[in-house]
Assembly symmetry: C2
Homo-oligomer: 212 residues x 2
């Protein structure tokens, strides 16, 4: 039995008390992976941004809002886990300044500066122990495979699941599973529930079971 950390859902970066930058990640793939891992007898911890879906009851869920919060909880929990599946879609940019008041319309342009948020899976991948494994997810619109392979290597992921933008907040998906340094392990498509099970089976076979 492995103890598995899953990051799931989007994060939000507020520009004022009401408005935020985010993405449409629903947490569905995270929930599907958690269900598959629990059914296989593993222990599951989920650090999740705000989602409307329900995670399986047997999972321990830690809710977060921002990318910094997700990173902090993931860094706190990862040392106690055998591996992490980073299926979250953390918001990559945060505003340099957050207005404490709701911005009022003035009729003029609103110019906002954003800085990049820390990369959660890269942080975990580059600090992992030799006995730990890291699975990343990537969503690319251009040169997807090339960019995904680069990301997998740069973030020190053992495996990377690549999907296209149509996956976000959709019940179905089409994914390609890559291993270091640039091998395609599988191409899968189907509902997120079925895909979650198939992806988890590959993770289990490749990364969990070989571990003594």
């Amino acid at each position: 039995m492995a103890r598995i950390l899953i990051t799931s859902g989007p994060t939000r970066q507020y520009i004022d008390p009401v408005r935020f930058l985010s993405n449409a990640s629903s947490g569905r793939m995270g929930a599907a992976l958690a269900t598959a891992a629990l059914r296989a007898g593993h222990e599951v911890l989920i650090v999740s941004g705000p989602v409307e879906i329900a995670y399986p009851r047997e999972a321990c869920v830690v809710p977060v809002m921002t990318t910094a919060e997700m990173l902090a909880e993931a860094e706190r929990l990862f040392p106690t886990c055998d591996g992490v599946i980073g299926v979250a879609a953390p918001c990559d940019y945060r505003p340099c300044e957050v207005s404490p008041h709701k911005l009022s319309k003035t009729g003029k342009r609103l110019v906002l500066s954003f800085v990049e948020t820390p990369d959660i899976i890269a942080t975990l991948g580059l600090s992992k122990r030799p006995d730990q494994w890291v699975v990343g997810f990537a969503l690319e619109t251009d040169d997807p495979r090339l960019r995904a392979v680069r990301k997998m290597n740069a973030k020190n992921c053992d495996m990377l699941v690549l999907n296209g933008p149509s996956v976000i907040n959709s019940p179905v998906a089409e994914v390609e599973i890559l291993r270091r340094p640039d091998v395609t392990v599988a191409k899968l498509c189907g509902s997120k529930r079925v895909l979650g099970r198939k992806i988890f089976q590959i993770i289990e076979k490749t990364l969990i079971l070989p571990t003594p």
Copy 2:
């Protein structure tokens, strides 16, 4: 029986194929108002941004994504309706440029310019026929009542429901109902389901039943 248009939920303004500016509006108050109006025997049309909640089956729901789409559908439907309840939280800013590709991290600051989107309730309020009524909602963090009264008059709303930022994506709320020019009709608090019913009762008594 009245034919009632309800705008509900958030809208999204994408900056690239994945990331967008939005807010946490859930559509719950819109659904509660729709339920109350349907139970009272009225016909309900809902123009809604992306939400996870379910609207009552008897309502006709038109899904939209952006503020411009919400405005276009609301302008198309409003002439066929007796009144509109604008409980949506349309995104007030759209990026001047939308990247067709997912923005890649560069390590540098990202500077984005936004322009204001058209005000849906002001557009409907300022073009309404004498036999039509308009109810707006406002969410203010500072000088709430003063700003709400100004909004109600500027947008030519017959009634305005004022709530604080804690209302967003929460099951409960605390609201103040204002009428022209600056009269407080009621202060209410409770679950959104109960509030939706009470607010609708006031709308019905004040704006629908007096109409011949």
